[in-house]
Symmetry: C2
Subunit: 412 residues, 2 copies
């Protein structure tokens, strides 16, 4: 039997009715002749609730316990969807990460998938099971502790299963009907894209577009997993959603494909750091070890042997970052004059594979922001992306201005 992987996000399994709806979608694919692996998220709100418990209990938590706690929401959904399928006479059972076992490394809270043995689930398919419902987002470490893959890790789980089981396709069911040029809640002109390249999706995902987790797109690109994003609230057709695919499959596109943003960013600056070889490693090594996801890094020109080092990270990791920095200073790893933290910034990124062959994208972007008097605090660029940090309060304004400036409301 060909294998299909389907993934349902939190809003698609938010309550019993929606789990029932998801079960009907799964059953329809079984009727077409597929053996189906369904990857589920926690009911929407559950994971946030659990993370809230953790933060209330221990702000500087042990990531191993965090993982054991927050992974529980997915187990509930997996069991419920399996039960619902059984009620519809579709042979199904649930699998928790450690039962597969989905083996990861020990990087708790952001673990990497090492291997997904297929034997256990394939044996059950051979015995007549039609649907394996897998709890997303979680795995098991070499030490036998539960790990999680980071927020949105269920997408990564789904793509990894699609790769491991050589699935025909990986359908990501979510609460939006595809990938948009930007978030329609912020910009009413936002337009759904029928197709987008892996590369662009990767930049959009990593720059805050919440449709797909970055790593899931990376994985899909590496293993050539056909990835479709579609709404669990509409009856799907062959043209539903957005197909994430290779560049060759896309005939025409705008220079810029989309505007991504991330609201809850913080900017931290270490002033007066001794500028010597190895200083960056001394600063960012302990931050990485503490699980801080450092994003942009900017180093100012050195002045008399001292320099300012600026980086950004998610706002909710600021405490953790401050502790890592102060611990390193106490250990004598490095010295600095002052640590300045700005928790009120947002990041905006302009993404497009066409940038590689078109000049002037940066100029258009900066001009559009300047015309709205939005001050740029940090700039970084890649081959197909330009990102800036700005004051959080200007975020919506900036997104709308850029969407307009690049004509994203119109098809190429």
């Amino acid at each position: 039997m060909p294998i299909l992987v389907m993934k349902f996000g939190g809003t698609s399994v938010a309550n019993i009715d929606r789990i029932q709806r998801a079960a009907r979608r799964v059953s329809a694919e079984v009727a077409k002749g597929y053996d189906v692996i369904v990857v589920v998220s926690a009911m929407s709100g559950e994971t946030n609730k659990l993370v809230g418990y953790v933060n209330d209990t221990a702000p500087l938590y042990d990531a191993r316990e965090y993982d054991a706690i927050v992974s529980s929401g997915e187990n509930v959904t997996a069991g419920l969807l399996a039960l619902r399928l059984q009620e519809m006479d579709v042979p199904a059972r649930s699998w928790q990460g450690w039962q597969v076992p989905l083996q990861t490394n020990s990087a708790h809270g952001a673990a990497r998938i090492m291997t997904i043995p297929t034997e256990n689930i394939m044996r059950k398919f051979a015995e007549g099971m039609k649907v394996a419902v897998v709890a997303g987002f979680q795995g098991i470490s070499p030490e036998g502790r539960i790990t999680t893959l980071g927020r949105g890790g269920s997408d990564t789980t789904a793509v990894a299963f699609a790769a491991a089981f050589d699935a025909e396709r990986c359908d990501i069911y979510t609460d939006v009907d595809g990938v948009y040029t930007t978030d329609p809640r912020i910009c009413s002109d936002a337009r759904k894209l029928d197709r987008i390249t892996f590369e662009e999706m990767l930049e959009l995902a990593s720059q805050g577009a919440k449709v797909l987790q970055t790593r899931s797109v990376e994985l899909a690109m590496r293993y050539k997993v056909r990835l479709r994003v579609l709404s669990s609230f509409e009856e799907p057709s062959d043209t539903s959603g957005t197909l994430v695919c290779d560049e060759e499959e896309i005939m025409e596109s705008n220079v810029v494909s989309g505007i991504a943003f991330s609201r809850e960013e913080a900017k931290m600056t270490l002033q007066g750091v001794a500028d010597k070889p190895g200083i960056a490693a001394a600063i960012f090594g302990p931050l990485a070890d503490s699980g801080v996801n450092v994003d942009m890094i900017v180093q100012n020109i050195s002045d008399e042997g001292h320099t300012d080092m600026t980086f950004s990270c998610p706002v909710d990791q600021v405490l953790r970052a401050e502790k890592a920095i102060n611990d390193a200073r106490l250990r004598g790893d490095y010295t600095f004059d002052e640590l300045i933290c700005d928790s009120n910034v947002a990041k905006i990124s302009v993404v497009g594979i066409g940038m590689r062959s078109h000049a002037g994208v940066a100029a258009t972007m900066f001009r559009a922001l300047a015309s709205e008097s939005v001050n740029i605090k940090v700039i970084t660029t890649s081959e197909i992306k330009i990102s800036v940090l700005i004051d959080r309060k200007y975020m919506e304004l900036a997104v709308q201005a850029l969407h307009d400036a690049f004509g994203l409301d119109k098809k190429a």
Copy 2:
């Protein structure tokens, strides 16, 4: 180091504040020199919520999925308590059932504990861990599926750990300050017992007193585990709570120790069953296989080769019982004229080890009920207990009348 087992029920870990309070209690025992194994329930309300999800999804559920779903609440509490202890600089980690591994048989929903290997946890104690926080109520089957021990199974988990680790004592922290002659919410004269025998506690527990799960008391009796029930909301002293102990340790006691009751009972009668050898097995075998907890069984005198068979079970298992009976009838296992179900009964039990040497307890009981015009529907007795089924609406009245009739408000 001596080992102490502590168990915190759902109301004792109902929110972050209470988890913090529990952590302080645990820390106080660590300070006394104990290595502590803490067994935790789910935050109160969580398990009911999950059971509700299951029933809404699939009323006739696969018990394996049920177990995978409802066991998740305990995992959350275990992780949170471990985190809280770490915050207090008490070395702690959480253990889910499959990690210990607490091995059970495959009777999902009501699994029996087979073994609790002590090596993993003892090794961690040897390495300096002071507290193992164990998710109660759950284990792992020989097939590698998650099992649960039945409602209240965390008590059983705690006692089983106390036996396996040869603990000095097993303290059960709950929302009441001990075992009472009956539920004080129903009878304001109810009195706390300082000590009670294992045997009496067993009957009270199995007859609906919700302080301790029956099997936990059985286990404690078998392995001579010193069991103390006490409130998590009071600072404990050496005389707090109720000690469950051997008969010899109790100098004087009332003839009757307590009145237990169970509100949500159902009475089912199979009318006109062919009365032949093996008929009881034919009826109750499939019920047991379906996971129906049959309690009282009464068979009326046979009349011309036919008989009426009456049994009681929890109200929420009526659907399941009806299905098992109708399936058995369709298979031709047995025949009957009619299945009558009364879902509006309650069970009341009078319990006391003194009954063995005192006559007239039954007479006093029936007289007290008659004087309140309460009709008795079914009667069963054991050496130290008499139970009756009555209309649910008379339950409170009957409990108060019996408490009064046996003078339970006064110490012996």
